[in-house]
Amino acid sequence: MALLDIKGLKTHFATDAGVLQAVDGVDISINRGETLCVVGESGCGKTVTAMSILKLIAMPPGRIVAGEIMFEGRDLVPLSSHQLDDIRAKEIGFIFQEPMTSLNPVLTIGEQIAESLRRHEAVTKKQALERTIEMLKLVQIPNAAGRVHHYPHQFSGGMRQRVMIAMALACRPKLVIADEPTTALDVTIQAQILDLLQDMKERFGMAVMLITHAMGVVAETAQRVVVMYAGKVVEEASVDELFGNPRHPYTQGLIRSIPRIDLDAEHKTRLEAIGGSVPILINPPPGCRFAPRCKHAMSICTEREPRLREIAPGHRMACHLGDAS
């Protein structure tokens, strides 16, 4: 049984212009101890999907309209925010994109990590402090015992993200959701943080759901990849399969847009970009949502929506191209 199994999740937002279908029927499952990457452009619904799991989206205007989110066999959708509090941080930890704004500026980092421990585990103040320092050491913050009493503004961006990781892992959750954890950081720091995440994952044996828009990060970290486009899953495969045999035109576009320095001069081609941008998801037209940007679009693509189906063991995609062949 998968650790987390999302089926047919639809999260919509009420806006002045109409209902925004940010997530519109997403299926994702994560096994224990696995690293799954969810990849797609900004605005494709990756973050909303992740935030829906623990109901961290603003509700209203957001609303989970349909679907189920099974965590260890228990559906999280009908639970109230209050009931979810026992699962938050304890079972599922969260690492956010912006380390600069995701820490409370008026509390010391120690207080912020320890409050999570105090909430979920029967520890005294002193024990919580000790475990906090221990966590800070694990995420390689120098002079952890002294730094624990410092405020977020006394840390650099990379250090703050380490603090965020320590915070997310403090209660040893079974699943960590990392929402673009490296996007806001310098390139040199990015690699360090990814290494740290890998390291932590091996140490604690948790599953990781890594949300990113960088294919390079995917190739480096993932075991399995889910590609999302405009609120839907368009392709899902193991990392080798996806990079070796991408089937959906959008996935192919994403892979072609990675700069390559390993090819020699004759084989170098111009970097390809995918034309156009993610459609606005208020009253989307029928048919495949990628069709307007797709080089292979056929007449059926604007009429009928392609279903996600298995084309090889463990490889699923949603495109009419496969039907023809």
Partner: protein, 318 residues
């Protein structure tokens, strides 16, 4: 932290000097000799007049006059009230506690109303409670204090006859006396407090709404802390930072309201002293009371600055 407070003090001093300069310039610019009225006042003996003219050095150049006046103010030599025939500082010290008591309790009342109401309204924006709170706040700060005061007297004193509408400060002791002191303070404190609460509620609500959508609040919610703890520990703590500044900016208006309230309920504070001195042409008292009000405003700003530094750790390190 202590360094920060010291720095704020250093900033407060020039603004006190600036205020004193403004006051002095106003006095110097006033048409005619502000003490000429005293010449016709039979209560003032000629030798006092001459002493006064000498002390204020009315024929010296203006900057010298300012320095003399400032030195006198700093030394606590605030002049002599011709009407009450006592030193101005004695007169003010007699009246000041009453004003501080009324203003302090009304501020407390305002905070006790504004923080819970503003916080609760912000956690449920556009709910019925929020809209009611907003409407009342809007009406509250559009109602001038002199009118609320009169309405209160009409309802609670004239119609219902629950509360006395004239404040008396007979010295006494014992429980009945204490109760009476509290009873007569109810209406003035309500009038001032409700007025303050109205604008504070709006400040608190909008500051809460600004903070509630920030990333670190989501982080806190992701820790499973529970709504109440997230709101109090993470949102409120941060929202109070701008609120402190806004309340400090309101202080001049608070003291303005205090003057009106003291006048309506005939509270023997420095506000009513100011009015009666103006009506009696008692210049030294008018100047001194205005200066005291200015000092109070600066003092409260200083307190706000200290609070601000305490609430926001980023400040003290700058």
């Amino acid at each position: 932290m202590s360094q920060y407070i010291l720095r704020r003090l250093m900033i407060a001093i020039p603004s006190l000097l600036g205020i004193s300069l403004v006051l002095f310039v106003v006095l110097a610019l006033a048409p005619g000799d502000p003490f000429s009225e005293l010449a016709t006042n039979p209560n003032v003996p000629p030798e006092v007049q001459a002493a006064l003219r000498a002390k204020f050095g009315l024929d010296d150049p203006i900057y010298l006059r300012y320095l003399h006046w400032l030195a006198a103010m700093v030394h606590g030599d605030w002049g002599f009230s011709f009407v009450s025939r006592v030193d101005v500082d004695t007169l003010i010290l007699q009246r000041l506690p009453t004003t501080l008591y009324v203003v302090g309790s009304s501020q407390l009342l305002a905070l006790l109303i504004a923080i819970p109401v503003g916080v609760y309204a912000a956690t449920r924006p556009y709910s019925l409670f929020d809209q009611l709170a907003n409407t009342f706040a809007f009406i509250g700060f559009s109602l001038p204090t002199f009118f609320t005061g009169i309405l209160f007297i009409l309802v609670f004193s004239v119609k219902l006859d629950w509360l006395p509408f004239v404040y008396t400060s007979v010295p006494g002791s014992g429980i009945p006396w204490l109760l009476e002191m509290i009873r007569q303070a109810i209406m003035p404190v309500m009038v001032l407090g409700l007025f303050q609460a109205a604008s504070m509620t709006r400040f608190v609500r909008s500051a809460m709404l600004d903070v509630i959508r920030l990333d670190y609040v989501t982080t806190a919610r992701a820790k499973g802390l529970g709504q109440a703890k997230v709101i109090v520990k993470h949102v409120m703590r941060n929202a109070m930072i701008p609120v402190v500044t806004l309340i400090a900016l309101q202080m001049p208006a608070v003291f303005g309201g205090a003057i009106v309230t003291e006048q309506i309920f005939r509270i023997p504070g420095i506000g009513s002293l100011l009015i009666s001195s103006i009506l009696a042409n008692d210049t030294p008292v008018v100047m001194a009371v205005t200066f005291v009000f200015a000092c109070l405003v600066v003092l409260f700003n200083l307190i706000a600055d200290v609070l601000y530094g305490w609430l926001d750790p980023r400040i003290s390190f700058r």
